[in-house]
């Protein structure tokens, strides 16, 4: 008789809380309510905060469940916190945003929660099957969310493109998993590690792992698998764009780091060379193409591609320093990016969302606080001290120099100088040009304001007092890299 696998739901607690909140939202949505859908957002928020707290109390523990397919170590918990934070900020921002565009709906919050649960699960995946399941759980919800504003033709395009390229990537992933399974006889990271150590040049294994990398590369929008990002970022509702740019990216990075560190450590030299090229290409293409964008959301799409490139530099550097730096970078990037998109949700032009850079002309005069917030987020993206973005870059580049990747670092810093140009262009519009039309910024409600303040405090705190957070990031990667 086959013994039933031990069920240890404790290791899934944050995921389950989020899923539970999602189901509750669906149920409550059936009850007609007069006051709009704000109570659903509140439930969603409660679920995310609950997941956050559940993750925090487990810090330092190491839970394993389902025959080691799911691991709840500090690495996963760190990402749990990042993702839950990002999702919570996005729920706070969505409240006003959806009401304004008239797209308030219960399934929005439910889908955000389901997608988030996929992200959370992905960070604890220690088995390729769980990786695949979690990615699908995350992505399927995001495909729907991307097309939420179905009356906009860009939304259909975004959703369709995201879906097609996404399943394409999933196919790569699945094919890679199959090949790796053929070579290693298992999909568990531990068994793959043993197989890699035994025969790192086994062609089946190499091809399988390369396909895995392609699949994950799609999801983090690394060059040359980045084509979907600009269209999806542009067409998706801005709050969803924020979730794609922050949470989903963080989750896939978590899986990638675990895969590289836990399963592929023996082949480090090989994948380091591959990632070196990917990092250089991703940064450069992202930044150079971003210069030419006049649509702010497209520009941020390319900029987020560039930021993925910087994070890949940290993975190339490897070791506790490099990997820890990537975690810190993701934390900083999440706060900054969520904040940036948060400001965008509050700006409109002629009843439409303000997405062109020139729509932001003169915002500094009309809405000084909002402009200041956007300006600070952009400066953090540039990497100006003392803001979070700078410290993130400093950690990543420092680890790369220390690991001997001097020229990659030179490419990276030159890229960040290029990036200054297009971020500053937005600031030019904010403060140095006068408004040329009926652009308007809405005073954020309490929820939106709270989200922006949290993000702002985050980028300043991480910038001025990075040490405790960097130590947490180090503690998070320590068990992986032992």
């Amino acid at each position: 008789m086959i013994p039933a696998p031990p069920v240890a739901l404790g290791a899934l607690a944050p995921v389950l809380i989020v899923v539970g909140a999602g189901l509750l939202v669906l149920l409550l949505d059936l009850v007609p309510a007069r006051g709009g859908k704000a109570h659903l957002a509140l439930v969603a928020l409660a679920g995310l905060v609950g997941a956050l707290l559940a993750a925090l109390v487990r810090w330092g523990g190491a839970g394993r469940a389902f025959r080691d397919m799911v691991v709840l170590d500090n690495h996963a918990l760190f990402f749990h916190v990042v993702i839950a934070y990002a999702a919570a900020l996005i729920v706070l921002l969505s409240l006003d945003y959806l009401r304004r565009v008239g797209a308030e709906s219960g399934e929005y919050y439910a889908l955000v929660l389901f997608s988030t649960s996929g992200m959370l699960l992905l960070t604890s995946a220690a088995d390729l099957l769980v990786v695949f399941l979690a990615i699908e759980l995350m992505s399927l919800s995001l495909y729907v969310l991307a097309g939420l504003f179905k009356w906009r033709h860009q939304a259909g395009e975004a959703s369709m493109k995201y879906f097609l390229l996404g399943v394409f990537a999933s196919a790569f992933l699945l094919y890679g998993i199959a090949l790796v399974y053929g070579a290693a006889g298992s999909t568990s990271f531990d068994r793959i590690a043993a197989a890699v150590a035994a025969g790192p040049r086994d062609p089946l294994l190499v091809i399988g792992l390369a396909l895995l990398l392609v699949g994950l590369g799609f999801k983090i929008s690394s060059v040359p698998f980045h084509m979907w990002a600009p269209d999806v970022y542009e067409g998706a509702p801005t709050s969803v764009t924020a979730l794609i740019a922050t949470g989903s990216k963080a989750a896939v990075f978590a899986a990638l780091i675990r895969l590289l560190a836990a399963a592929l450590r023996a082949a480090q030299a090989d994948w380091t060379a591959v990632l070196w090229v990917l990092a250089a290409a991703t940064m450069t293409v992202g930044n150079v193409v971003a210069i030419a964008q006049s649509n702010l959301k497209r520009m941020l799409a390319y900029s987020s591609i560039a930021h993925v490139g910087y994070m890949l530099v940290g993975l190339v550097a490897g070791g506790p320093a490099g990997t820890g730096a990537v975690l810190f970078y993701l934390l900083a990037y999440t706060f900054t990016t969520a904040g940036t998109f948060g400001v965008i949700t509050l700006c409109e032009r002629a009843g439409e969302e303000a997405v062109e850079v020139r729509d932001y002309a003169g915002l500094g005069r009309r809405h000084p606080l909002l402009a200041l917030a956007l300006g600070l987020f952009l400066l953090s993206l540039v990497g100006v001290p003392p803001l979070a973005g700078f410290v993130g870059k400093f950690y990543v580049f420092g680890s790369a120099v220390r690991a001997g990747f001097l020229w990659l670092t030179v490419i990276a810093v030159l890229n960040s100088a290029v990036a200054a140009y297009y971020y500053l262009r937005v600031i030019v519009y904010l403060y140095m040009r006068e408004a040329d039309g009926p652009s308007a910024a809405l005073a954020p409600s309490f929820a939106g304001g709270l989200a922006l303040v949290i993000a702002l405090v985050g980028i300043v705190l991480l910038g001025v007092m990075p040490a405790p957070f960097a130590d947490l990031a180090q503690a998070a990667v320590a068990p992986l890299l032992r």
Partner: protein, 503 residues
């Protein structure tokens, strides 16, 4: 944590600026006075630094340390020696002057202007007092953006182009310096086992001479050379100066350019002595080209501000010449020349700003005969112009003379070519002065220009006072720095262990 005097001087302006955020923007007078008072308080505190400074010691003084990111060896470590003390004083002196000069010139968004200026002051002072490379880099980069806003928001018609050019030029240089800082940190850590960004610790060790030291030197030197600016990296400067508002120009010329030359003295010489020596001939060549080229180009400028901007290229060439002559006279001369240039060029920009406010033009051809209309203005302008061209008895002479002396000891030809720069300075400044001030009143619009107002007197008199004081009796200014500079020269020499021309 106890807040020391140096920390107070550094952060008082920013703290004051953040407090001013609370003042409603309609209360413009309160904002302006508040900003001025904060800047004057910072000046008063920095005078405390001067009073308490022991000029006989070459060590860092008013040192404060606190741990910041211990896992990476990053600390909050500040202190001043004879070199940085003067530059801190220059900064705290020029900031209130600049704020006062913008009293009526900057009307739009006065609140943001005052706050930005105060943030800029903290950044500038921070650059000069940082003794930790990370901290230094933070200030170095952070300082860039207030200036970017000052040029871009309150500048002239082409301000956006100038502001973006200014930032991008500086960024490209400074990001490479960041890589060099990291490389230095890693090399020092690997060699000694101590991973730290602490400057005094790093300076006790020498990067082994070779390609690594050369590359690091070049990365630092590029960042600093852009800021100085050393020919041919100067092209951002005329744009930035012409477009910046007067207050921005004063601080840009007065303080920001000094960060480049200060960087060479503080970082390049002690950290990379061999490369500094190896590249000295190149620096000499570029400095000489800058001196002569800057002067020639100044001569033909139709725009007063452009003329002063190019004269900066020429004057900063002298500073670089003095620094890289690597002897006590040259370095003391270079340092005094930094202060002098800050005062005289700052004053020149103030004077240009005053007539610009009256006539809304800066073209030399639009003026003429001002002596008859504005005698007081013309007299002060004369003193400032004479100080800039190095007339004995005024400040410019002391610095240039010492620099030439130092350069002469390295190679008489250096001094000979550089001296032509002084002659050309006389040409372009006096010719400009003649066309603006002497002769008949050429334009009707100039006939009724009011002379200096009490506020303008208050702005220029302190500057002129120092111009005369340094010219007549420079000892109080050179005194505190001599011990530091002697120690620096000895340090660089012993590290490079190459015979130099000393004393």
């Amino acid at each position: 944590m106890r807040i020391g005097l140096l920390t107070a001087v550094t952060f008082l302006p920013a703290a004051g600026g953040l407090l001013l955020v609370l003042v409603p923007r309609e209360r413009e007078r309160a904002l302006r006075w508040g900003g001025l008072v904060v800047a004057l308080l910072a000046l008063a505190l920095s005078l405390g630094l001067y009073a308490g400074f022991d000029g006989s010691s070459a060590d860092y003084q008013f040192v404060e340390r606190a741990s910041w990111v211990p896992s990476l060896g990053i600390g909050y470590h500040v202190g001043v020696d004879g070199i940085s003390l003067l530059l801190v004083l220059l900064t705290t002196f020029l900031t209130p002057v600049a704020l006062a000069s913008a009293w009526s010139a900057v009307e739009d968004r006065a609140k943001e202007f005052v706050i930005t200026m105060l943030l800029l002051e903290t950044g500038m002072v921070g650059v000069f007092v940082s003794l930790d490379l990370f901290l230094f880099y933070v200030f170095w980069e952070a300082m860039l953006f207030p200036m970017y806003f000052i040029i871009g928001v309150w500048g002239g018609p082409n301000r956006i182009y100038a502001a973006v050019k200014f930032v991008l030029y500086t960024m490209v240089g400074s990001v490479l310096m960041l890589v060099a800082i990291l490389a230095l940190y890693v090399q020092h850590g690997a060699a000694t086992g101590t991973y730290t960004f602490d400057l005094p610790v790093l300076a006790r060790w020498v990067v082994p001479p070779g390609p690594a030291q050369t590359l690091m030197f070049l990365a630092f030197a590029l960042a600093f050379a852009i800021k100085v600016p050393l020919f041919p990296l100067h092209t951002w400067l005329p744009d930035a100066h012409v477009e910046a508002p007067t207050a921005g120009s004063v601080l840009l010329a007065g303080v920001l350019l000094k960060m480049g030359t200060y960087g060479f003295v503080r970082f390049c010489l002690p950290l990379f002595p061999h490369a500094s020596l190896a590249f000295a001939p190149l620096v000499f060549a570029l400095a000489l080209v800058g001196i002569v080229y800057g002067a020639w180009v100044s001569t033909v400028q139709p725009d007063l501000k452009k003329l002063v901007a190019y004269s900066s290229v020429s004057h900063l060439g002298f500073v670089m010449l003095g620094i890289f002559s690597l002897n006590v006279q040259g370095l003391v001369g270079g340092l005094i020349q930094m202060v002098n240039h800050g005062l005289s060029t700052g004053a020149l920009f103030l004077m240009v700003g005053m007539i610009y406010e009256r006539r809304h033009t800066r073209l030399i051809a639009d003026f003429g005969g001002l002596w008859a209309v504005m005698p007081a203005f013309s007299a002060v302008f004369l003193v400032v112009a004479l100080s800039s061209l190095g007339l004995p008895g005024l400040n410019g002479f002391v610095g240039e003379f010492l620099v030439l002396l130092g350069a002469f000891r390295v190679n008489p030809w250096l001094a000979a070519v550089a001296a032509t720069g002084i002659i050309f300075a006389a040409v372009y400044l006096l010719w400009m002065y003649q066309r603006v001030v002497f002769g008949e009143v050429a334009h009707e619009a100039n006939r009724r220009l009011p002379d200096l107002t009490p506020r303008e007197w208050a702005v220029v008199v302190p500057v002129v006072l120092f111009i005369v004081w340094i010219g007549v009796y420079p000892a109080p200014f050179t005194g505190p720095s001599e011990a530091t500079i002697e120690a620096l020269v000895v340090q660089v020499q012993s590290k490079a262990s190459v015979a130099l021309h000393v004393r």
